[in-house]
Amino acid sequence: MATTTEALSSPRRYETGILKWLTATNHKNIGILYLVTSFVFFIVGGVEALLIRLQLGAPNNTLLSPEVYNQIFTMHGTTMIFLFAMPILIGFGNYLVPLMIGARDMAFPRLNQLSYWMFLFGGLLMYSSFLLGGAPDAGWFAYAPLTGAQFSQTHGMDFWALGIILMGLGSTVGAINFIVTILNMRAPGMTFFRMPLFVWQMLVTTFLILFAIPSLTVDAILLFLGRNFGAPFYVASQGGDPLLWQHLFWFFGHPEVYVLILPAFGIISEVMPVFSRKPIFGYGAIVYSGIAIGFLGFSVWAHHMFAVGLDPVADAVFSADSMIIAVPTSIKIFNWIATMWGGKINFKAPLLFAVGFIAMFIIGGLSGVSLAVVPIDFQVEDTYFVVAHLHYVLFGGTVFAIFSGIFYWFPKATGRLLDDRLGKWQFWIMFAGFNLTFFPMHILGLLGMPRRIYTYGSGLGWDTWNLIETVGAFIVVVAIMIFLWNLYASLRGGSIAGNDPWDGQTLEWTTTSPPPAYNFAVIPNVHSRRPFWEQKYPRTLREKTASPGPVAQQEAHSAIELPEGSFNPVVVAAGLLIASFGLIYAAWLVVVLGVGVVFTGIVGWVREPR
């Protein structure tokens, strides 16, 4: 063992301070960078949401000018999707996937680092537009031709397009990294059907990212070419078609919804069994339904476009596909409930958030099915009904799951428990505030209130509901404040968690909290779906997939290979950022400089020892 521990100290370069984070290649450090950065963006996007709610709290309000309102709602959507929900889930994946599959790191640690910095720089690029003449103002969906140079005259949409391209490339290479990691780096004995369900959902998610995001990247490139070089892709009068944007956008946009929900399904599928002290009910069904959602997710995009005047037959087909997706989703819900059924439920905050997730996701699913009904969609599309639906899915769904995951894995990452009582307070306050904010939006949509309007007249029956929603939004703020306090207090003096505070079932609980850089001193051998549970309760294990017996031990005594810290991926990402600024302002020397920096980074990267 002595030789092993000696090898462990190899990545010795920067152990603390800003350089540690700047050069971080370890999956856990990058995971923490993702989680913290995206949570900061969550707060920023939340402030934007509050501005929206303040403006809409009363009819004919003049708090925000229409120009400012349009920038705020555009950046709220863009932030919450691209800078919060997606990267925070990638952050969970980064931190957890190698731990859960018994690996020491991601397959390509420096590529992982590049993904993070491209995400961060893409986000900063977009936000710099607020200081440089105006933020994007055509909605996160950025429908052509409103985004064209003729109608959007600030540089806002250029910042948006290049930010999207940077983040898009970052997530695409990140997706490849996850896929390779999950396919190739599982511990001995961890077959596909012994992988934790979170890992399964991440695998499907990253395939979705791999095939969906390039569609958006292409869309954004065409947009940038159109705005700056007169390319007529989306200009009808020059032979282009505004609907080309929408098809490319939603071919990305709908799979993106599953990118944001499948990892949440994964979190729930980890939390439910642990706190019910049972195995997950119907492991296979959850895996296959996740895969089914992944495939079907690519065949429903036009349900965002029922009002563009498609042929009714096309509408009917996309409607059918959209409804079929509700079947695998329902299967998961029933499986989670059945996991609790007959269990001995330990009702801690992670489970409370998980049950809240299911309860709210059901509502989002039901409104989603209603939206898939074409004639109903003709009425409620582009109204607050859709806003209600998407927030029940992404806030009631994804955000509740994220908090479930934070409460569940925080002790693993920090060694300290978050306060459970405060967590429960946060849950109930957030639950009340969330429903007050978003449930009335269903009603407003049915009352004919369109989305994306900066004001409305009185006397339409919309006033009271809007006021209730604004109050609800501030109740959510209280819940978030409680969480931030909990975070602060627990980091300073939370109770020590130990390796396994929840009686966990999967590999991440076998190592220390926080885990060492190398995760496991000895790569574990896996004999079942619940490798840790199997160690703790050998007699209760009745899984058919379990195959006790020796598995090759070749890893046990080999030297531990860990990546060294590196600056080069950061240099590459910074070069792309510089080149982006050059492109926006048509400063070609800056573009050349940026490309030079990228090249320097690549050369340095190639010449690194390993």
């Binding site: 429908y143 329902s330 269990g343 099915v369 003709f378």
Partner: protein, 343 residues
Amino acid sequence: MFSSRVIPTRRVVPVLVLLSMILTGCAGLPPTLLPASFDARVIFNLTMVTFGIATVVFVVVEGILIYSAIRFSRRTSEGLPKQVEGNTRLEIAWTLAPAIVLAIVYVLSIQALRSVAYQPSTSSGAGDTSQALHVRVIGHQWWWEFDYPDLHIVTANEMHVPEGAVVNLDVESVDVIHSYWVPQLGGKIDAIPGRVNHTWFRAAQAGTYHGQCAEFCGVEHADMRLDAVVEMPDRFQAWVEGQQAPVAQMTGDAAKGEQVFMTGSCVACHTIDGTQALGKVGPNLTHFASRQVFAGGVLDNTPQNLAQWLADPQKVKPGNLMPNLHLTQAQIDELVAFVASLK
């Protein structure tokens, strides 16, 4: 040891709060929800059926969820429950159950889609299409133009149609994507540059129905509204005749205002039939005084509002395409008198 059958009240109260919230939310339909055309009724009925099914599913599934969360809650962690991994029959059942419910909803939705998407043929008794009215609906940043090609009428922000007749709409846009929508008369259809989209409706009840652009279209998207005025056929006929009448001879202040209008920059953007004002950027003003609203349906058509608008359109509706013309008070008064005479 606590008995597992005692349901702790502190867990039940929030559940009750949620349920009562949802129930009160559904009670009492406001008038804006009531459909006023035949296809809006089809959609309304379908919506109610779908929501009814959704409510049943909601109650059943949330009920099972909450029950199992409470029923199997334990305060001690002693002993392990039975380690059940699945049950194939059960899982097949809960795969089939949603599939069957969805199939029912789908069949209902396709029936409704057919009757909404396809106009009734002349042979069916649903509507006399020989009397069909043809209207071009043209979206502009940020107002609606209504062109009745067969009647040679062009108007803005206010669409008049007769009760009971089939109205065929050709929906177009001159700039960005808009979406035509009058909720009580039916579903929305996008106005897309370079395309002509078709929809139709048949109003069942006279009245004025509020509508609004439903696709985000820029700065003043919120202030791109319209009124659909459904009238009895004889009143509609009277409206048509009024709109077809030539512009009257102006006298007094109105004549002075006409002078200001025709010699100023107004004619670059506005049309008044039978005059040299042929601009196409802004609304056709031929019978402006007959309209109830203006400026994209945001302002009531009163002399005070008009004067305010002419003094500085950017102050009233920031971002709209009409610049501040820096008119004198006298010019404003004369212009108000002029357009108020365009009956």
